[in-house]
Symmetry: C2
Subunit: 198 residues, 2 copies
């Protein structure tokens, strides 16, 4: 990696941690300079503006979160078991970047403005929902999942309840609510999603 692209990468990583904790609007130039140890000019040699930096930082943080959440998923052959492992990963594996889920944080941050960032988050959400939907759809095809299950709806239910549970965990600083969500999803996946005869 050239020195320039290494610096760019380091700025993105530092900015990702800052934005994920204090938000795009809540992070000042002074904080960005302190976090990266660079002057304003040193930062903006690599990015055309704060929005571009925020979009890159979001993508970086999101990849880190996905890495934690999809950990070891491919090694599980059954689709219902894979969904259960995904839920467990979400609850138990903290992404390397502190401040909670980048998607939730940035969605709340960008939903009333900042179109560049909002489009980036929406793209991430759609990719994530599609990934879960396709696990579900292939489970239906392989007769591991009941035919009446709607893949898109089930993916939305899983993501919504986990993200809401995470919000409560971050506020309460305990796991009670998200563990209730996990138990609910696990029991729902067993009783209403898994095909009994499979």
């Amino acid at each position: 990696m050239s020195k320039g692209s290494e610096t760019r990468r380091r700025i993105i990583a530092e900015a990702a941690a800052l934005f994920n904790q204090h938000g795009f609007e809540g992070s000042s130039m002074a904080e960005l300079m302190e976090a990266t140890g660079l002057e304003k000019g040193g930062i903006y040699r690599h990015f055309s503006n704060k929005e571009e930096l925020a979009a890159e930082a979001f993508d970086y943080a999101w990849q880190e979160a996905l890495k934690a959440r999809t950990h070891d998923l491919d090694s599980i052959p059954n689709s219902v078991d894979r969904l259960k492992q995904f839920v467990a990963n979400f609850v138990e594996r903290r992404p390397s970047i502190s401040g909670g889920c980048p998607l939730l944080n940035t969605a709340i941050d960008a939903d009333d403005g900042n179109l560049v960032l909002r489009n980036r988050v929406r793209h991430a959400l759609r990719g994530w929902l599609n990934e879960l939907s396709s696990i579900i759809a292939s489970g239906v095809e392989r007769e591991e999942i009941r035919g009446e299950v709607n893949p898109k709806a089930l993916a939305a239910i899983i993501v919504a309840s986990l993200e809401g549970g995470l919000m409560i965990r971050r506020l309460e600083k305990n796991d009670e609510a998200i563990r209730a969500v996990q138990a609910h999803l696990e029991s729902y996946l067993e009783s209403e999603v898994r095909r009994r005869d499979s």
Copy 2:
């Protein structure tokens, strides 16, 4: 109401709308001045600092949200029907203050700092979960709800999945995910929560 307390109330209402859209950290003094039409001194005659104003603004916004979500709830005698109406209110009745759910917004905003605001949001969340828990507990007592249902866990599942669904709605600007959550909760309340013999 005296002129002073009327002005105070107006500042709170304007600040609530601003904070709910741009966050506590994302709302500048200049924006507060523009929203209220007052100078800095005119605002801080009524509040000791921005944190106090934000806490009051949050309480105001939260009361408005609760008003929408508990609309007509008391008139429904059966506890399961009351929970279903609560879910429907959440999905269908928009609070008067734009920018989405004040609890979700402020929780994300305050979870990495700002203790005053975080405590205020946590207090609101606990009150809300307690209210739902006590509907559920009294449903168990009145034998409308199955004895094995855990009121705290069910309350957390309802709140988490609705708030997560709302995040997706605000990002996608459509109702698909939150309607999937609503349908899931309604069917779960009928099949796993309501006592069959009641």
